[in-house]
Symmetry: D2
Subunit: 151 residues, 4 copies
Amino acid sequence: MPTFEPQDPNFEVRVRESFARQKVMETIGASLTTVSPGEVEVELPFRDDLTQQHGFLHAAVVTAIVDSACGYAAMTLMPPDATVLTIEYKVNFVSPATGDRMIASGHVTKPGRTITVCWGDVVAQSDGQEKLIATMLGTMMTLRDEQARGR
Amino acid sequence: MPTFEPQDPNFEVRVRESFARQKVMETIGASLTTVSPGEVEVELPFRDDLTQQHGFLHAAVVTAIVDSACGYAAMTLMPPDATVLTIEYKVNFVSPATGDRMIASGHVTKPGRTITVCWGDVVAQSDGQEKLIATMLGTMMTLRDEQARGR
Amino acid sequence: MPTFEPQDPNFEVRVRESFARQKVMETIGASLTTVSPGEVEVELPFRDDLTQQHGFLHAAVVTAIVDSACGYAAMTLMPPDATVLTIEYKVNFVSPATGDRMIASGHVTKPGRTITVCWGDVVAQSDGQEKLIATMLGTMMTLRDEQARGR
Amino acid sequence: MPTFEPQDPNFEVRVRESFARQKVMETIGASLTTVSPGEVEVELPFRDDLTQQHGFLHAAVVTAIVDSACGYAAMTLMPPDATVLTIEYKVNFVSPATGDRMIASGHVTKPGRTITVCWGDVVAQSDGQEKLIATMLGTMMTLRDEQARGR
């Protein structure tokens, strides 16, 4: 695992404030747990109103938390006035998303001035056991805050 | 555009019943509009509680509707006792997801006995204008219903 | 299909010169056929020394031509002093790559100042018939020439 | 890292024989180094005739070795009469592919009866130093040998 040196010592506050502005995270009940340089975790308790036709969490709900984990992992390494934009992601779903809660972890593979590549995993926790649900590889972009708003 | 011959003349009923069981679609306010062989449309009015930190719809919400459109496009061509599973998808986000409503369309690129490849687009409609928001390429799998439940 | 206005009237010469510098294209026997704004075609005759274990063209050979087609499709819309870099791509393989020749076409989905999203297809031609082999969705980046060399 | 139990004790011989039939690997000069359960390495010395327009190895050449590494990593865990097919992959390119040689490693994320998900990395080695060049996430399929030939 590489270790990363954040450019902004205040990265954690910045990430937590941005996450708090993502209304969809409150809507689905997701919360930000760990924030460290290049690594972020997001947790989501299982909820019946987020399921697909077989009673598992919908793929997009799983994607929501791993995208947020990856995007904010990228943001921990960005300059103070920057924000993060998801250019694209690819997610593989490897087991049905069922269990007590989902833990998404996002990790920076390679930070860059403009482009940051990240990977993430989602595991389901149930009765103290963990099972891999999904894995993601995505591309994030550094945006100055005003660009993000006006894009 | 290829044209496809459905194996199950009852495909539309089957797709609509399955979509109706996706509780997350009701939670976010998405509805199934068109269902034809190899092509499905899903519509989502903009809602403030589904946004990310800059007030646009979260990438995963955009993904939710285009994944459903693609998955059900695949299902229109499957046998009567089969259901669909998303193996993986890749989505590119090309403009901020803002506007009155999002229209996701899913299309079958290549149907297969086990694997069906699909592509989809999401456009935002506002004041009679359309703008491309996202584009997806994904892989769907045919499952017999009992497999899907027990996987 | 969207139509695009090139920024550089000399785009075709620039693309053809760049393609000619891709030594791997000569090594595998690929040639650039059509170059128009936002659309490029690359052709590859079947060759036995490019096959995988079942006698079909290797996935990466199919990828080589559709990546070049997409990258150069993006480059047709870039400024005169810019070159193109592939950030990432995703390719689905839908039929065995066999036939007389492969035709890869690359298309711009959405051009941008920094990021251009492209999609592409590869078809096999044999005895006047065409069959879809692969489909791609990728992300290209605009680089000033000196950046590309020094990155 | 998960550890995996191969179904076929003869997996290494089977993988090496299949790799030897991939003529494109000989054409580009790639060789199979390590083969263990769920993990495979492929090595490629730098060669000028495999480059793109800036003198780096072409993205598809990098893809060729990491796809082979991932596909054969999947095959190590398959039954004796099975072979592997790449359904799709996504590759991010994070640094120019230059150096003395490229080392691609493929790893199984999740094996399955039909679908196996793999990830892989490519590093460039030069003067005893390593640098990450590319990272991949892909989907492999188990095929009985006769299916693969006749598909």
